[in-house]
């Protein structure tokens, strides 16, 4: 390459250049004081330059590093270390065509002759941009998970305190565990591996109600739209279903007197309105019993507040002798998964 070289030298340089080009990395061959002898085509193309732009010049002045003097100093220090026989390795952002950046896993290594003297330096680097970006995605996902775990702790504690507030002391622990299990079920349904935190209403309802329906599956009808329900609000809806079904077992259509339940959630209309309903019909009207105000305290307070909050609307609750009926129509913010995701999902 250099004028005045013998034919053998030129042949060797050609082979070296091919060697640099055949590696999967960016590569450059330098003199021990860091001047450029040769650079792989990949590194030249990435920067949009030719060998003539850098040949014979200090490597650290090259296009890849010249946007940042600290990076230039670091490259220079690695050259000095390599001249002393030491290998350096670190990641840096290389400038590429159009002032873009590639994250490069970089190494500067000495090449010795037979007598152990450093005669050349080999700079090489892998493009690890993809790896670094996927690392960032994983880190973001971990932050999101940590945020959700904190919310979950706060939710569990809120359930515990509300249970203590409303349940009879001897019943409170069982009530709490039932609610905790319903929350865990909702979490499982919504966290299925092939989903990103959503489930259809019928899937959620079936799983939350299942433990309470053994032998009575035919007494309940679930009416569901197709849209996916999204994590946090859907979990709250799951807890509401739990309150409704346990109440029905004690006092309503699932009690020994018998009856039927229809529960449903419509897909949102074009203006975002959706309706949730739970309708109990009993075979025979129940005898009038003294209302249990503490139990009603939790159940009704919870249902009214939670459904009211989810749907941003008043909840209509009717408790005739035949069982409980409830319905709410509103604009539930954050309940439905954005439609494009739901449509693209299996």
């Amino acid at each position: 390459m250099t004028i005045g070289q013998t034919e053998t030298d030129q042949g060797l340089d050609n082979r070296v250049h091919q060697l640099l080009n055949r590696t999967i990395a960016f590569a450059a061959l330098l003199t021990p004081d860091g001047r450029v002898r040769d650079v792989s085509d990949s590194a030249l193309q990435a920067a949009g330059i030719t060998l003539a732009d850098v040949a014979g010049r200090p490597f650290w002045d090259g296009y890849w590093f010249s946007y940042d003097t600290r990076l230039q100093d670091r490259i220079r220090a690695s050259i000095e270390a390599a001249a002393r026989g030491e290998t350096s390795r670190f990641d840096y952002a290389a400038r590429i065509v159009g002032d873009g950046r590639l994250i490069v896993d970089f190494q500067m290594a000495p090449i010795h002759d037979d007598r152990g003297r450093v005669v050349e330096l080999l700079a090489s680097g892998f493009d690890v941009t993809e790896r670094e970006e996927s690392k960032k995605r994983v880190e973001a996902a971990l932050r999101e998970a940590s945020h959700r775990i904190k919310n979950l702790f706060a939710t569990v504690r809120a359930m515990a305190r509300l249970t203590r507030q409303f349940s009879r002391p001897e019943q409170a622990l069982d009530d709490f565990v039932g609610r905790l299990e319903a929350l865990a079920t909702a979490h499982r349904v919504l966290g299925a591996a092939d989903r990103l935190g959503w489930a259809r209403f019928d899937e959620l309802a079936r799983e939350v109600l299942k433990p309470y329906l053994s032998g009575m599956e035919n007494r309940i009808t679930i009416v569901s739209g197709d849209r996916g329900l999204f994590r946090d609000q859907a979990k709250l809806l799951g807890l509401c279903l739990h309150e409704l079904v346990t109440n029905s077992l004690k006092h309503g259509a699932l009690s020994p007197a018998g009856g039927r339940i229809e529960v449903g959630l419509t897909d949102p209309s074009a203006d975002g309105r959706a309706t949730f309903h739970w309708t109990e019909t009993r075979v025979t009207p129940a005898p009038a019993a003294a209302p249990d105000t503490r139990r009603q305290g939790y159940g009704l307070h919870f249902l009214r507040s939670t459904l009211g909050g989810i749907f941003q609307a008043e909840v209509a609750i009717d408790i005739p002798p035949g069982g409980l009926s409830l319905s709410v129509t509103g604009m539930p913010a954050g309940l439905f998964e954005r439609s494009e995701t739901a449509e693209s999902a299996p």
Binding site: K150, R157, A158, A333
Partner: protein, 113 residues
């Protein structure tokens, strides 16, 4: 004091309402979106707002806090993602979820002073 709760998880909002009630304060309402909370704040002039950063209408908490401050209403941030929040917040103080009774009591006492 009269307190506004802006929290998209209704259960957490109910719990906050209960906590705040035990401390002798009044809750003017629980809101899951910043727009609804702001509407209520304009009518009712609360003494302080408890605000989550992410609400049902998105990450609108920081803007809500700024708007409330413009109306002279201080905010206490209650969030599970404070460590990852980098923009400055115009809030009186920030509490990390889950918030203990003591933390809430101390924060509300700062509003009263």
């Amino acid at each position: 004091m009269n307190i506004l709760i802006c929290e998209d998880n209704v259960l957490l909002a109910l719990d906050l309402e209960y906590q705040v009630g035990l401390l002798g304060h009044t809750v003017l309402g629980r809101y899951t979106t910043s727009t609804a909370a702001l509407d209520r704040a304009r009518q009712a002039a609360p003494d302080v707002a408890l605000v989550d950063l992410t609400l049902a209408d998105g990450r609108t908490g920081p803007r809500l806090i700024a708007e409330l401050r413009g109306m002279g209403i201080p905010s206490i941030v209650i969030s599970g993602e404070l460590r990852h929040h980098t923009e400055p917040l115009e809030a009186l103080c920030t509490l990390e979820k889950p918030v203990s009774d003591m933390e809430l009591r101390t924060a509300l006492a700062r509003v009263a002073n």
